[in-house]
């Protein structure tokens, strides 16, 4: 037991590297928020664009979304950080990770919003249009409020899953939690910082999960 505690719960090592983990936590928070906002906003925009049913545009949206959903996020991050400079496009590790994860979240949330828009019964469109509302007014005032409510559970799940992927930024040396914990581990030859990192993820994401559950009940309405 003593040896276990010494290896995994070494308070001295933890205390030494806690500031680094804390620093990483801030990076993770900023990155995750930026990804969630950009990804969901762009996904909503694409799904609305898709609702206009312009053929050429929709073929492009579906193709782009399918590619982004099929690729592992890590591959996209690496491509942005290591491959794009060869084409003359340079971005920092932070921006590559943010952009890659935002695109992935955009793709998934577009699909989720689109499913929500399709799930609103045709009668809702007809009722609204029959009172003289335009296509856009119907979409904004009648269809989207209902579609968004339907999409909250899958959307929160997906957002949590993708924002957790900020850990992938460690591969391109974004100083977020996992990167800090790993480097602390290699400096100290002691895995305790990894445990500290895991704790940081829990402290960060359990409230997010609870918040997600709260909005689900808050916005659910009986049919």
């Amino acid at each position: 037991m003593g040896r276990f505690a010494d290896t995994f719960l070494n308070w001295a090592v933890m205390a030494q590297y806690a500031p680094r983990i804390l620093e990483g936590t801030w990076v993770t928070i900023r990155l995750a928020l930026a990804v969630a906002i950009a990804g969901i906003a762009c996904g909503l925009f694409l799904s609305v664009l898709r609702a206009f049913r312009f053929r050429a545009i929709n073929v492009f949206i579906v193709f782009a979304v399918d590619v982004l959903r099929a690729l592992p996020p890590l591959v996209i991050i690496i491509a942005f950080y290591f491959a794009l400079p060869a084409l003359g496009v340079r971005m920092s590790a932070w921006v590559s990770t943010w952009l890659a994860l935002s695109l992935v979240l955009m793709a998934f949330s577009e699909e989720i919003f689109w499913a929500g828009i399709l799930a609103v019964p045709r009668g809702q469109w007809e009722a609204a249009r029959s009172t003289g509302l335009s296509f856009l007014q119907t979409l904004r005032d009648v269809v989207l409020p209902q579609a968004v409510r339907l999409t909250i559970p899958p959307l929160t799940n997906r957002t949590i899953a993708i924002t957790k992927n900020t850990a992938l930024g460690a591969v391109v040396a974004v100083g977020e939690i996992l990167y800090q914990a790993q480097s602390a581990y290699s400096f100290s030859y002691n895995p305790s910082p990894l445990l500290l990192g895991a704790a940081a993820y829990l402290i960060l994401f359990i409230p997010v999960v609870c918040f997600g559950r709260w909005i689900e009940t808050r916005f659910a309405w009986k049919r």
Binding site: E126, A127, Q146, K222
Partner: protein, 242 residues
């Protein structure tokens, strides 16, 4: 004429649903449309505000040809109230919100003005005290009356009813029919697709019998119900009385 339909055809692919409909509705008239399912009754109503695009023919609402390319269809639609079989209330808005949405968005009324008009419309259908109720908190009959108020609030020139009581429990039908009867007495022009024959007998000015995309017979309710000319109409009336 409030509504003037001439030689209206509608096909879905190769399926011809309307095969030349002529229908003229005078102000204050209540025209009742009956017929077997698949006769094209709903399609006729839905063509009149272009929820369905007619294949050919002409439709004039208050003298305006609604099929002219470039016509402002949204402006015309608010002159034609539509009440659906399945109510189609907006579940995320309360009764007043359902009624006031188009007042604010289409007629550009201020919020307080829209509220006054909406409250009056709900009062008119006997739901003055249900302003804050959401659709899921209302009975079917109440929901349908909110839907009528939603159409009514826009002061339409004509109201179309597409089987307004077909989705209701029998005991709730009466409340909706009462509202329709009051509207009729106040001079509202109405076209009603429905199987409520007793209501048709007492309230309709004219009854149309549709079958296979055509108007087979039309006339005063007494004539259609008591002494129809066509065997097909007689068969239909007998079959629904069972």
């Amino acid at each position: 004429m409030i509504l003037d339909v001439a030689a209206l055809h509608k096909a879905f692919g190769r399926l011809e649903v309307l095969k030349g409909i002529d229908l003229r509705v005078k102000p204050g008239e209540l025209v009742f449309v009956i017929g077997p399912s698949g006769a094209g009754k709903s399609t006729l109503l839905r063509c009149c505000n272009r929820l369905e695009e007619p294949t050919s023919g002409s439709i004039k609402v208050e003298g305006v040809d609604i099929l002219t390319p470039g016509v402002d269809i949204n402006a015309i639609r608010r002159r034609i109230g539509m009440v659906f079989q399945s109510f189609n209330l907006y579940p995320h808005l309360d009764a007043l919100g359902n009624v006031t949405l188009a007042l604010q968005r289409v007629l550009k009324k201020s919020r307080s003005e829209a509220k006054d008009i909406g409250a009056a419309a709900l009062q008119r259908v006997g739901l003055g005290e249900k302003e804050k109720a959401y659709p899921n908190e209302l009975s079917g009959g109440q929901q349908q009356r909110v839907a009528i108020a939603r159409a009514l609030a826009l002061e339409p020139a004509i109201l179309m009813f597409d089987e307004p009581t077909s989705a209701l429990d029998p005991e709730l039908v009466g409340s909706v029919l009462n509202v329709m009867r009051e509207l009729r007495e106040s001079g509202m022009t109405m076209v009603v697709v429905s199987h409520e024959m007793r209501f048709a007998r007492s309230a309709a000015d004219r009854v149309l019998f549709m079958d296979q995309g055509r108007i087979l017979e039309e006339g005063a309710p007494q004539k259609i119900f008591n002494s129809p000319e066509h065997q097909r109409v007689r068969e239909f009336l007998v079959s629904i009385e069972r």
